[in-house]
Symmetry: C2
Subunit: 208 residues, 2 copies
DNA sequence: TCATATTTTAGAATAAGATTCTAATCAAGT
DNA sequence: ACTTGATTAGAATCTTATTCTAAAATATGA
């Protein structure tokens, strides 16, 4: 009756995971719209009833897949960031991390960033909102620290992630779609350089 | 029998346009998946048969909407770019244009950039590919010119658009979704500055 | 260990919506 | 006016998401 605090849901949990992974595979292969519940059923060996029992509907299933992925991505990013004391190293590291994660997790990346949460994630979702608020706070804190220390330019806080990761996102878009583009390593170097130029204090000389 | 080269399709053409606009409105209000053909029928006053006659199916309708919008956007961008001789001014102008267009065309922007072509635009689409190839060529040409003239850093060509517009895209994402962010004008200034720092030749001093 | 309650799974039944089809209507050229 | 192809209507069909009922599995408590 009372929910267990620990975990031993062996059967149930693993079934849930199976469904999520099957869904991820289907979604990235054929797109969310194009995958039917039947596709997921076949791939996961679960029944329709089971899928609906665990996730309610297709939209919420997609949401669960999204959460699963973004959590891992964000955790790693914060980790990298908070491990770096030096501003310049932090900037380069964050970009490297982003691109490297994408390289290691192409399916998740395709799912998370190509077709973002836009469709099924109404940004008012409690779970999603909480996660992002915390994430944003910790990112912002890191930048603030270095702004105060005089290492980084002061900007409206919401612009830092844009300048830092915008180019990566744009790049991944093409990288994951058609290929025949610059290597991820080269891109990481160049974007790191670019971001550092753009963000480091004292680059204002160009203002004329 | 032979297709007219000019245009007077008055009836047919305008019906087509009506459907596209109705679809755009529905798509941005409720999302592509959530809008039924019936929604579009109601809003456009066209019949189911008419819609299918003109577009084949919902996917192709979405595609048509996309093409319609992206064509306008790209034309304006190339125009702005080719109007600017000076590298620095060109860089700032392109960013201003991008954000300004988004401000003037919020519905189109939401449709074009929030949920990109990912879903329904398999990037192998002939029409789409042609358009983009031409667009990319002209953008690349402009940058090459200034690289040769020594005004811009030499980079792998596919990275220019990423560095230039990536931050804008990332920003618009938030701007169009939740708001409570920096104004578009401020963003345009800062991103312009950032991009110029990142792209102008001689910023390499930071390389240490 | 057995009886009972709760969670999970199956798969058939239903409902919603996309697509197809057949037959009118319209516009243009002759 | 007459023929032909394009366009429109809307009913019929087909696909797929979702709901529902009941069976199986698992946990709980004596």
């Amino acid at each position: 009756m009372v929910k267990k605090t620990g975990a031993t849901h062996s059967r149930s949990e693993s079934r849930r995971k199976e469904i999520i992974l099957a869904a991820l595979a289907c979604f990235t292969e054929q797109g969310i719209n194009e995958t039917s519940i039947t596709d997921i059923r076949r791939r996961s060996k679960a029944s329709v009833g089971s899928i609906y029992h665990h996730f309610g509907n297709k939209e919420q299933l997609a949401r669960a897949v999204y959460i699963e992925g973004i959590r891992d991505y964000q955790a790693g990013l914060v980790d990298v960031l908070e491990r770096h004391e030096d501003a310049r190293e932090g900037v380069f590291a964050i970009i490297r991390y982003h691109l490297e994660w994408a390289k290691q997790n192409p399916e998740w990346t395709r799912f998370l960033f190509q077709k973002r949460h836009a469709d099924f994630m109404s940004s008012t979702e409690k779970q999603f909102k909480e996660m992002n608020v915390d994430f944003a706070r910790r990112i912002a804190a890191w930048f603030q620290k270095h702004v105060r220390a005089g290492a980084l330019k002061r900007l409206p806080p919401d612009l830092y992630p844009c300048i830092l990761l915008g180019p990566c996102q744009e790049f991944l878009h093409h990288y994951l779609a058609t290929h025949t583009v610059t290597s991820l390593d080269t891109a990481a170097r160049e974007f790191g350089q670019a971001a550092w130029c753009a963000l480091s204090a004292g680059s204002d000389r160009e203002a004329r």
